[in-house]
């Protein structure tokens, strides 16, 4: 192994690490606020990438139909609660919810069918896709997790597995089995100490660093962020001081899914993304999140770097055992954490 190979592997590993870090963040965020291990996060990464590819080939992404469907189901659930369950608070909000859940997705459909045929700028594509992915978190939380918010971590996990499989099947149905690549945001290639690095990779790493800073500011400086933090530390206590745990849950899911979608649109120009690719990325992000004990953002980021670097070097030395090596990382971490005896949920 010479300097070139090592350097090239490290840059590839760091690019991967940036993605795993963002996925780990959304898992930690969702888990600490709602105690849900949301493995379906990977599907949203795939959906974002595949929607972006559909948009760039001039088609309306099928994701918007999923959004309309989910919005409709959520609204039906609300109607049920409002009239059968006689919940007056929901009844008062019904008109606003109808606009949010039914009208907005349909309007979005028309916006996309208007925009898709005239090829716009890559940055507009990304903005549209992120906007498209924005409402999913709230809907998923409302339909699936809000009714069982008090259930045990295991039951919530079983729900997540079920949602993961449903989304996987829907992904196959909506986008077909083949993978896609999207257009590069920047086609600059630079030479860093003799190692070729794509502009896209640098972009991903910088974006992750910016997002880490933004998340830190959000949690320490903004009221909403502090409310989330409070719910994560002590949900009941937060509730007592007037922070709605359901609102916090919806916000956590929304943020988590948007982060995953951002990963999807960032890596799809340099990696082939199929409907099932996201799951594997999510699992590796999960390993990073586990290293962070499912509560620490900085340790998860370090975990992501470890996973990314171990992954590329094991691919180089023993590609047959690559996945085994990466997922085996979790064992010493779990051992250490159980011996340390600090449980954070």
């Amino acid at each position: 192994m010479d300097w070139f190979i090592a350097g090239f592997l490290v840059q590839d590993g760091l690019t991967a690490a940036a993605v795993y870090a963002l996925i780990a963040f959304s898992m930690v965020l969702i888990f600490s606020v709602t105690r849900v291990i949301f493995i379906g996060i990977g599907e949203f990464l795939s959906f974002a990438a595949l929607s972006m590819a559909a948009l760039q080939s001039g088609n309306v992404p099928a994701t918007v139909l999923l959004l309309i469907g989910l919005g409709f189901i959520t609204f039906m659930a609300l109607l049920w609660q409002a009239f059968i369950g006689k919940n007056t608070r929901i009844r008062e909000q019904l008109l606003i919810d109808a606009i949010k859940l039914i009208v907005v997705p349909v309007v979005f459909y028309f916006v996309l069918s208007f925009y898709a045929p005239m090829r716009g700028n890559v940055l507009i594509d990304i903005t549209l896709i992120l906007l498209l992915m924005l409402p999913f978190g709230g809907m998923i939380y409302r339909i699936f997790y809000q009714p069982i918010a008090e259930a045990s971590v295991l039951i919530l996990l079983i729900f997540s597995v079920a949602i993961h499989f449903s989304l996987l099947g829907l992904g196959l149905l909506m986008f077909g089995p083949e993978g896609v690549r999207t257009l590069l945001i920047t086609d600059v290639n630079i030479n860093l100490l003799g190692i070729p690095v794509t502009g896209q990779a640098i972009f991903i790493v910088i974006l992750t660093l910016v997002l880490i800073a933004a998340l830190w500011l959000f949690f320490t400086r903004s009221l909403t962020g502090k409310a989330l933090q409070a719910t994560a530390v002590n949900s009941r206590g937060a509730h007592l001081v007037g922070i709605g745990s359901h609102e916090a849950g919806r916000l956590a899911f929304t943020l988590g899914i948007v982060l995953a979608a951002l990963c999807g649109v960032m890596i799809s120009p340099i990696a082939t993304i199929a409907y099932d690719t996201g799951f594997l990325i999510a699992l590796k992000g999960f390993v990073a999140a586990i290293i962070g004990g499912l509560y620490s953002f900085p340790v998860s980021a370090l975990g992501a770097i470890l996973v990314g670097i171990v992954e590329v070097f094991s691919a180089f030395w023993a590609s047959t055992y690559k996945e085994i090596i990466v997922f085996t990382l979790i064992i010493p971490v779990l051992l250490w954490q159980s011996l340390n005896g600090k449980h954070h949920h």
Partner: protein, 381 residues
């Protein structure tokens, strides 16, 4: 009202009986396909073909009875039993996937009925006399690749393939050819279908300085190693497997696919075949009739297997003595013998010969080498 219904029921029963009596002269072909479940994307084109087939087999009338096995070997076995015991079929075509085909073949062999499978595998001793798997094996497909390597004077071959049984099958096949073709396998790397990057493996491959790289993959996941190789400046030949011969691959790979070489069945490139190619006529005819029904560019290898199964049966039934009636053990035995004696029959995928000890249908003519030139498929000269 009830009287009326009874009348209708009676009348239709009489008609059904009449048809049945009439049909005793016609050959009954049972078709088991995986039109739902994991192999559905293969089974559906096969079903599309069955609905296009002529209503005669040899000079006799033919009746197709089609069942879906849900890509479940248990269902495939039950379907085979039902076709044989209730429908009294003379022959079974199917199934689509290897496990379902084996299950159907097992039941059919037990009941002395021929199965023509649309999936490649090696029949067991019990199944052997009654089982005829049609598609090209990996060995048939790879033969042409290795011949091309010899022609191009390739000595150092590197391999990167899926970490599953497809990748393993190709690796095992390479091992068989190394000594015969004077090749040296300088690197063996694996990756998963859903991998995000293969940078590590490709650096390793390039470090072994190969003349050519064989990628044991299928579909769009096979594009990643190829594009990474080209990005890293690899100038040698890239060989792919027949799992890569589809439009999605071309769309995704873009310029990195230029010059890659892979084997495929003749139907994919029917128009490009030279006039003297043995499958030219059959392949063009099939493509024409299939695409006129299912749309431009809808052709695929699986649909053509179903068509070739028909051509084989047609040829065999033609050679059966006219006095032997379908629906009898004598007919089934005669059919088995005639199919086994099939010699140099041109079908859309190549040329089929079977024999007492031979169950691999195609020889090297069952594979056509293609490459990509200016973003389109082209034949390798």
């Amino acid at each position: 009202m009830i009287k009326k219904i009874c009348k209708w029921a009676l009348a239709s029963a009489v008609i059904a009986l009449a048809i049945n009596v009439h049909a005793s002269d016609s050959v009954k072909v049972g078709v088991i396909l995986s039109t739902t479940g994991p192999a559905a994307s293969l089974g559906i084109p096969e079903r599309n073909t069955i609905s296009l087939l002529p209503t005669t087999l040899g000079d006799r009338k033919v009746e197709y009875i089609m069942l879906d096995d849900e890509t479940d070997p248990g269902v495939a076995g039950r379907n085979a039993r039902r076709l044989i015991e209730q429908e009294k079929v003379d022959v079974i075509i199917g199934s689509t996937a290897v496990p379902t085909s084996i299950a159907a073949a097992e039941v059919a062999a037990e009941n002395q009925t021929v199965t023509i499978s649309l999936a490649p595998y090696i029949p067991t001793e019990n199944q052997h006399p009654w089982t005829f798997p049609l598609p090209q094996t990996v060995a048939v497909m790879s033969e042409s690749l290795f011949a091309d390597m010899a022609k191009q004077g390739i000595k150092r071959l590197a391999y990167i393939g899926f970490s599953d049984n497809w990748g393993q099958a190709w690796l095992a096949d390479i091992d068989r050819h190394l000594i015969k073709h004077g090749l040296e396998l300088v690197a063996t790397e694996r990756y998963a279908r859903s991998d995000r990057s293969v940078a590590g493996q490709i650096l390793r491959v390039l470090g072994s300085r190969p003349d050519a790289v064989l990628i044991g993959a299928s579909g769009t996941p096979g594009v990643l190693p190829m594009s990474t190789l080209r990005e890293r400046g690899f100038k040698g030949v890239i060989y792919q497997t027949h799992g890569m011969a589809n439009q999605d691959v071309l769309r995704l790979a873009g310029s990195s696919a230029e010059g890659m070489i892979l084997p495929t069945g003749a139907v994919l490139v029917a128009e490009l075949l030279p006039e003297n190619h043995p499958s030219k006529r059959q392949a063009t005819e099939f493509v024409k009739s299939y695409e006129s029904r299912h749309g431009e560019g809808s052709r695929n290898n699986f649909a053509a297997y179903a068509y070739d199964a028909y051509l084989l049966l047609n040829d065999a039934v033609k050679r059966i003595d006219g006095s032997i009636k379908p629906g009898t053990p004598a007919f089934r035995n005669a059919l088995r013998d005639k199919i086994e004696n099939t010699h140099e029959l041109a079908v859309s995928h190549g040329v089929v010969s079977w024999g007492v000890n031979q169950r691999s249908a195609f020889d090297a003519r069952g594979a056509v080498l293609i490459t990509v030139k200016d973003g389109n498929w082209a034949l390798v000269e």
